[in-house]
Amino acid sequence: MNTDRFHSDRLDSFRELLERSDAALVLTAMAAFYLLFLGIGAVLNYNLAGIISILGQVTFFTAVYALVVLALNLHWGYAGLFNIGIAGFMAVGVYTMAMLTAPPTGSPPGLGLPISVGIVGGMVAAALIGLVTALPALRLRADYLAIVTVAISEIIRLTYNSPAFSTFTLPGGIALGTGGANGIGNFPSNPVRAIYYVDPESAASGTTPIGTAVFGFFENTLGVFRSAVIVDLTYGLVLAVVVLLVYVLLARVGNSPFGRVLKAIREDEIVAKSLGKDTDRFKIKTFMLGCALMGLAGVLWQGFGTGAVYPQAFRPELTFYIFIAVIIGGAGSNTGSVLGGAVFANLLFLLPQYLPNIIEQTFAIQANPNTFIAAVGPIAAGEITPLLGYVLNQRLPALRFVFVGILLVYLMQNRPEGLLGHRTETAAAVDLSDGHTPRAGSQSDPTPPAASDPGGVEDE
């Protein structure tokens, strides 16, 4: 056997593994992203602490995006509920957590409850708001539901933004507050810090035995003295475990009798109804579960990840990000959701933050004009660097939105089913592919055979 043949065999078997095993697919994608950002760290001459920091960011953003995208996929991919109020439900989760756990003496005052109560409370509050939304909204057409959910998300944001509830007193004389436009920053810090520090609120309080051992290892063996990057990386890994748990939960839900009814509703609600299923109940439960997960994602992302919540973080742009991630992954597929979240977080969110540094370092661009005219004016004289400087230093975030918007249009025109949305998830409890039905060829074919799934793509 010559080496070419050997390689192509290895490649084929690897491709087969990717198609068969979702875990392999996700792990391969993550390995590629880690390698990409390792390369970026190397190009930018980061030291080891900087590289650990980048890898921590990759893990964190991949995990939080995957989490929200999974929750949205439950709404849209499984139950066909077109919810574009994601930012609002995330805000409810994290704000409830912050208001429950912030110290009563702080500004704004909170209730001072333990973190675990805060997290559960945030999820419950998001689920309840979801219930309030879902009860009436289910009677609406999909496009009306979209308008209602985006209106509710804006109502939520404007309520948190309003000075009226900046601080207020509950009937029992207990003071509470949303902090108005400034938000809340005094809730307990990331619980992961408790692994390393005696007092999780302060890095100066001294380290726990684990902290001493881990920090000592990094300092003595690897020469990394910034303990914060180790804490962040740990948090990212904890979030990865959370994503795994949620994935397992949703996979179980999807394969349970409950999930089979959901898939039936998605395919044809009237059929499900005429089989005696109370479809509204199923939809409400699904909507609440998805909203609770969005609330959890809000807590883990904006709460413990960012360390402060403020209303501006929950603008409709956030919803838009999650949406494009689910469309990249393909609505209806949990693995696709994780993959879509990872692709969006790394290639469309994180990468553009490092791109200007790389380009500027490579091409030595110094110009930094602050208006478009000042940037294009010099082109007449053959000077292109002011325009590049303007794009890179002043307007890259705006251009990212433009690019992502165009990408969304492109996807809707050319690949509305996303990366993995073409997979037809059977509603049957037993594996139909195991010798019962021939599936030869169908796996490598990106479009499903028309006869097997006449309405699937249109439904999404």
Partner: protein, 366 residues
């Protein structure tokens, strides 16, 4: 006996509607109590009504286009708000340029004072000070937005003309973000003053203060609405649009030039959106890249309230939403005044829940 039975049936079938109606009655009663008791002066009340009419007229103007595209193309166009923003920016760029070209460099004027460009007070744009530049800006706003909406239709919507409403809706969200952040790319992301409000004359009519810019808006807005009315009534266009909203295939086989009507719809809707955006800046005095997006939900509220597809419904719905958002300030005082917008959103949700075909019965009058 009969009306009694009817009332009981209403209570049983639509308890929510009864609650909402009761709440509305309560508010109207409280309003009269406030007016008679002196808690609310007639002048203040008149001021709220006037403000509501001005903003309502603009919402209605912008809503006509949204309503037409919603019914004829079958999707909720989330990019409509950003057509409005582009109308505002393109129009005011030209108005600024014409008003200040004799004193300032063209670049800073075209970017409406971006970076260290000229300040609004120095340029002095207002309807009394520089009427020609204001009119020229309006014309450019309309023309430019028509161009944008036709280009977007050609590039984005036409290739997926027969896709379902949700696919088109998602595509329109992509268009919305691309258009919105293109404004940030060329102009700026903050909110900036534009008109020179200090030199605009205002008139006191029975205690209600009306300034010349608001009068301009009402005159231009009403003129455009009358124009649309005649266009749809006196030409075959209105009938063709109604036919297409009803059944596009049937319209096509009866010889209606479908693509031509769609193009006319975009020209009409885009032009009105651009005019509305330009005029919104005239009343607010400031311009921001997301001004259209902030209006979009109110416009959706107006369109849904008036019944999708109905031009007159959109106008009336706009007035209702405008009035509701301003009149709510009678009760929402102090810190609560930030809830004027949520009130309008809430109103829309109520209409969707209890009367999704619109309060005017959803009769398409195009």
């Amino acid at each position: 006996m009969v009306p009694y039975a009817r009332g009981r049936r209403l209570l049983r079938d639509q308890p929510g509607l009864v609650v909402v109606a009761a709440a509305a009655l309560l508010l109207v009663g409280d309003l009269f109590a406030k007016l008679l008791g002196g808690g609310l002066t007639p002048a203040r009340f008149g001021g709220f009504i006037w403000d509501g009419l001005v903003i309502g007229l603009l919402i209605g103007l912008a809503g006509i286009g949204l309503s037409l595209t919603y019914s004829i193309l079958g999707f909720a166009n989330f990019a409509h708000g950003d057509y409005i923003s582009w109308g505002a920016f393109s129009g005011w760029a030209v108005a600024y340029l014409l008003a200040g070209i004799d004193r300032y460099a063209a670049g800073g004027l075209l970017l409406i004072g971006a970076g260290d460009g000229p300040a609004p007070g120095d340029v002095g744009v207002s309807i009394t000070n520089t009427p020609l530049s204001i009119v020229a800006g309006l014309v450019v706003a309309v023309a430019f937005t028509v161009g944008v909406s036709l280009a977007v239709d050609r590039l984005v919507y036409r290739p997926i003309r027969n896709a379902d409403g949700i696919t088109l809706l998602i595509a329109s969200i992509g268009v919305a973000f691309a258009l919105r952040y293109l404004i940030v790319f060329f102009f700026y992301s903050g909110r900036q003053g534009v008109t020179d409000i200090s030199r605009v004359p205002s008139y006191d009519i029975g205690g209600v203060v009306i300034n010349a810019h608001e009068l301009t808006i009402v005159v231009v807005g009403l003129a455009l609405m009358v124009g649309v009315h005649f266009l749809l009534q006196r030409t075959k266009l209105g009938k063709a649009m109604r036919a297409m909203a009803d059944n596009r295939d049937l319209a096509q086989v009866t010889g209606i030039p479908v693509e031509g009507v769609i193009r006319t719809t975009w020209i009409l809707g885009g032009g009105l959106a651009g005019a509305a955006g330009y005029l919104v800046v005239l009343t607010q005095g400031t311009i921001a890249y997301d001004l259209g997006w902030l209006l979009l939900l109110l416009i959706f509220a107006a369109v849904i309230m008036g019944g999708i597809g109905s031009v007159y419904g959109a106008i009336v719905g706009g007035l209702v939403i405008g009035l509701a958002s301003r009149l709510s300030l009678i009760w929402l005082t102090g810190d609560l005044s930030s809830f004027a917008e949520p009130v309008a959103f809430g109103l829309m949700i109520f209409v969707l829940l209890f009367r999704p075909e619109g309060i005017f019965g959803g009769v398409s009058t195009a």
